[in-house]
Symmetry: C3
Subunit: 117 residues, 3 copies
């Protein structure tokens, strides 16, 4: 995931945060039934938002292909959904993310950390 966002999204690697949580076999239900062999991914996108339905559909196809070797190809049921939340309500280490086209944005990418600008 991080590789995709840095290569194609031109985003700093540290923009990708992930929390892995193991869920007890009886605590993840799908359709009202406990489902042990499943992965459920919830993602929020703050840095870049999609502008139309076609872009969203392409994004989910790409994500599904990245996830497949780790999930569906191994027999795990995998469901994901992504939300898009306001960029102006996002902050990293006390700093606001610089505009995507700014020199500061490129600096954050090179340094791979938030740098005052």
């Amino acid at each position: 995931m991080t590789g995709f966002h840095t290569r194609f999204g031109k985003l700093p690697a540290f923009y990708v945060g992930t929390v892995f949580q193991e869920i007890d076999a009886d605590s993840l239900h799908v359709g009202g039934e406990p489902t042990a062999a499943a992965v459920r991914i919830m993602a929020d996108h703050m840095a870049v938002h999609t502008e139309d339905a076609e872009t969203r559909k392409r994004s989910r196809e790409i994500l599904a292909r990245i996830l497949a070797p780790h999930t569906t190809d191994r027999g795990l049921y995998c469901e994901f959904h992504i939300d898009e939340t306001p960029r102006e309500l996002w902050m990293l280490d006390g700093l606001a993310p610089p505009p995507l086209t700014s020199e500061a944005h490129r600096l954050w990418g090179r340094e791979n950390r938030p740098v005052p600008y």
Copy 2:
């Protein structure tokens, strides 16, 4: 919850995913104070979105009635909120959800699993 979504929403049962998480008595705070006897529910709706405030209000009333026997009626403080996230950024087992009015949608409901279409 699953029953409501299948009967009234005409959605496949497996569209309803739930993660139950037990929280330590001192780790759920309400108003800055630890709150042991409480349930906090966060839901994201991807499949169907409400179109107006009145529909949203009806939805929350129905959810509150379904939850009551398990929460408020048993003396548990219960708070919930629902978000609506883009349908086009949602995927199940490597497959995009079929349109709600399609034959594939009905097939997914009958089979209760994502089927290539």
Copy 3:
């Protein structure tokens, strides 16, 4: 946080709910790498929504200042983002939140609990 919302937002203290979750040192990744000394905050705002980008930016600055003594000032990497979700899909103890300008809203604040109205 609760103090800020009650003093400046004129919101009942119990409108602020918080779940603290300790994450294993190898389960929180930033940029694809495990990150032990980090705090990641996700918040949903239901009661009041911002109306423009400038208000959002001021909100995140205030939140960053409140968090600093507990996070960045102590050498913890801290990232947060806030989403805004539909007020009409939010419910507390079986009751819909009263309008912000109503007497019932002030009553909820004084009683610091949901009261039938």
